[in-house]
């Protein structure tokens, strides 16, 4: 018999309103992909992000959708396993206009080349590594780990917690997150004449005693954490208990509200800061407040963490791109990608203005500094408003 695959079969064309479409968009629906991890090591992040995005999609559909079309979030769980993630991408990409979520930067970089040369569709990874910059298709929302870390270190300097000549420690994960953050801390340290003590760890290391001992030996005045929430908690706890009473600042991904209920809670509230490029979900600004309310209503027994904010921001950005694409009557994949680029002063209500015009740069260099607070929803309050430090402003990307 004749093969069903014969003749490629690329859908596409122009609808009655003259909007050009192709893969992932029909007359009624716009299908958006979400490749996430619901069962693997990053399940907690994946769950929050996906549920937030589902919430966004539902809300848009209540308001009549985009371009007269319903949004549909097509979710695939890869359990953070390359053996599933990459086939899942290949399977999904043919059905969607783009990805509002692609969790797991190893997998993103694994298919990056094919995204750019073949599928040419918009992918918003849930990762903030500078390695992903430079592609018009793969766009990170918010500051990359390196600038975030630069901001973090400079914050410590500005607050006078450390000064030139001091030593600071940096605990970072093996992998893109930690190692990209490390570039930031190295840059900042070198600029500010600080000595940097590096401690690389794996996600399976949860007891930071040895690291703290090493830091105390080096006499650090502050510590940067580019690891998971648990490592941060352990580090802060051990440091405090061991009389190493120094400020600790972590990246956005190094905090989870669940920790505040554990015995690490008090110390975290005392010594710990978090650098992030979005308002905390608990902020009283309208958008976060509304989101927090609705999310809590929709998923009563799930925690409100920064994954919710991140997921929401990505979804809204994607939505904004779709709207813009609709306006210039081009809902093709290329159209959506172009549309996002046209957004150079995009504000999602999370306190940061994003500029998507230059793929080589992150959409912002600003970072908030947040502080754990058991009373606040999501466990974080704003300690210092979003700002870009001098060094962060000058931070060179791609060198």
């Amino acid at each position: 018999g004749c093969s069903g695959k014969a003749g490629g079969g690329a859908s596409g064309g122009t609808d009655d309103k003259g909007v050009r479409t192709d893969k992932g968009v029909t007359g009624e629906v716009i299908r958006i992909g979400a490749l996430t991890d619901m069962t693997g090591v990053y399940a907690s992040l994946g769950k929050s992000v996906t549920q937030a995005q589902q919430l966004y999609v539902d809300r848009i559909n209540e308001d009549g959708g985009i371009c007269g079309r319903r949004l549909e979030l097509v979710v695939r769980d890869h359990g953070y396993d390359a053996g599933k993630a990459i086939p899942a991408y290949n399977d999904l990409q043919s059905q969607v206009v783009g990805f509002a979520q692609f969790l797991g930067s190893p997998f993103v970089s694994a298919v990056k080349e094919r995204i750019e040369t073949r599928h040419k569709l918009l992918v918003l990874p849930q990762a903030w590594s500078a390695d992903l910059l430079g592609s018009p298709y793969v766009r990170t929302i918010g500051a990359t780990y390196d600038v975030e870390t630069v901001n973090a270190v400079d914050f410590l300097l500005e607050e006078g917690m450390i000064a030139e000549g001091d030593t600071i420690g940096h605990v970072y994960f093996e992998g893109d997150y930690g190692e990209n953050a490390l570039e930031g801390s190295r840059y900042a340290a070198q600029k500010a004449g600080l000595r940097l003590v590096e401690q690389k760890i794996k996600p399976t290391d949860e007891d930071m005693s040895a690291q703290v001992a090493a830091f105390r030996k080096a006499g650090v005045k502050a510590v940067v954490v580019s690891a998971g929430p648990r490592q941060a908690a352990s580090l802060v706890g051990v440091a405090a208990a061991g009389g190493l009473d120094v400020p600790v600042i972590g990246n956005n991904s190094a905090f989870a509200p669940q920790l505040l209920d554990t015995q690490a809670g008090p110390v975290l509230q005392k010594n710990y800061y978090v650098a992030a490029s979005t308002l905390p979900i608990g902020a009283e600004e309208p958008v976060p407040a509304k989101l927090a309310k609705e999310y809590a209503a929709a998923y009563p027994d799930d925690v409100l963490d920064n994954g919710v904010a991140a997921g929401w921001s990505a979804a809204t950005a994607f939505g904004a791109a779709l709207k813009a694409a609709c306006d210039d009557k081009d809902l093709t994949r290329e159209g959506v990608v172009k549309a996002l680029r046209s957004l150079n002063t995009y504000e999602a209500g999370f306190g940061i203005t994003h500029d998507f015009s230059d793929p080589a740069l992150p959409s912002t260099r600003e970072s908030f500094v947040l502080k754990p607070d058991a009373k606040a929803t999501g466990g974080l309050t704003v300690h210092r408003e979003a700002a870009v430090s001098q060094n962060a402003e000058e931070f060179p990307f791609g060198e």
């Binding site: 069962t39 090591v41 399940a43 907690s44 769950k47 929050s48 093996e174 003590v197 590096e198 401690q199 690389k200 760890i201 794996k202 996600p203 399976t204 290391d205 949860e206 007891d207 930071m208 005693s209 040895a210 690291q211 001992a213 090493a214 105390r216 030996k217 080096a218 929430p229 648990r230 908690a233 352990s234 706890g237 051990v238 405090a240 208990a241 061991g242 009389g243 989870a256 669940q258 920790l259 209920d261 554990t262 015995q263 690490a264 110390v267 799930d302 925690v303």
Partner: protein
């Protein structure tokens, strides 16, 4: 120097936790000659039960309940799976436990979800400090517990008929049965004991310095493998020594990371395995394991 001592102590303290886990492997191995890959899930099960019960019924009762629960799970696994296996090949059974582990772990992680459970332990974040060195109380407790428990098992294996029965059953079920050994009961009890041990180990894994119990806690079981092996899979003493060696190695390798950069950073959890390999090169059955004998 103080740094060295501090690293040494923190190594010994975490090592004693590994020793408890390793002991779990040893108990099952002696009684069934199976390398129990499901130990990780027993660990998580015990910890989970302890954690969820802690704030209702108080710490100690919760711990007991957790141990009992994990023991029950272990016994169930033995009864439902291990006992049903008719073959003789122990590596096949080892692989079966992988299957069991996957099922249990999946279910547990589903239950635990994204939560982090405090264990409600009395020690909190307190530390014992002396001479500029500080050791968390939790770890002191762990060390004491491990030593006591392992000592108890040494005696149990030496003196009680249970010890003889388990080994006989492991080595030659039919003949053991001819000696009046209740095969089922023996291996069930071994698995139950392993479960209880796992629960205790889980407690010490999830208390300070780690923030609490969560789905990832069980991965520590992997670090106990080299401990059990380099001590000798069938040796109780080996479990203790192996655990401590692994703990210290890991701690030192981490603490002196900056001095060891030529090995690449983050050598911490690789080091124990390298040490294990070295030991095995010299002693193929570990430090205290019974050498496999060749007589025809």
């Amino acid at each position: 120097m103080t740094t060295f001592l501090e690293l040494l102590l923190s190594g010994l303290s975490i090592g004693s936790v590994y020793a408890l886990i390793a002991l779990g492997f040893v108990v099952v191995f002696r009684a069934t000659e199976v390398v129990n890959f499901a130990h990780a899930s027993l660990l998580l099960a015990g910890g989970y039960l302890t954690a969820v019960l802690a704030d209702d019924i108080g710490f100690l009762p919760a711990l007991l309940a957790g141990a009992a629960g994990a023991a029950a799970v272990g016994a169930l696994v033995e009864f439902a799976v291990i006992r049903r296996y008719r073959g003789r090949d122990h590596s096949v059974l080892a692989i079966v436990t992988i299957g069991v582990d996957i099922v249990l772990l999946t279910e547990l992680t589903r239950q635990i979800g994204t939560r982090v459970y405090p264990m409600g332990d009395p020690w909190g974040g307190e530390v014992l400090a002396f001479g500029g060195i500080s050791v968390p109380q939790t770890r002191v407790a762990a060390f004491v517990t491990a030593s006591l428990v392992i000592g108890a098992f040494l005696l149990a294996f030496r003196l009680t008929s249970w010890g003889v029965a388990t080994r006989a059953a492991a080595e030659h079920p039919e003949t053991a049965a001819l000696m009046g050994v209740r095969l089922g009961r023996v291996s069930t009890s071994a698995w139950a004991v392993a479960g209880a041990l796992a629960a205790v180990a889980a407690l010490f894994l999830a208390v300070f310095p780690t923030p609490g119990l969560e789905r990832g806690t069980a991965t520590a079981a992997l670090k106990a493998f080299p401990a059990a092996i380099l001590g000798g899979l069938d040796s109780t003493t080996g479990a203790l020594v192996g655990g401590l060696v692994v703990g210290v190695t890991q701690s030192l390798a981490t603490g002196y990371q900056s001095e060891l950069t030529f090995l690449g950073r983050g050598i911490g959890d690789l080091a124990p395995y390298l040490v294990m390999l070295l030991v095995l090169l010299v002693r193929p059955a570990g430090l205290f394991g019974t050498r496999e004998l060749s007589r025809v």
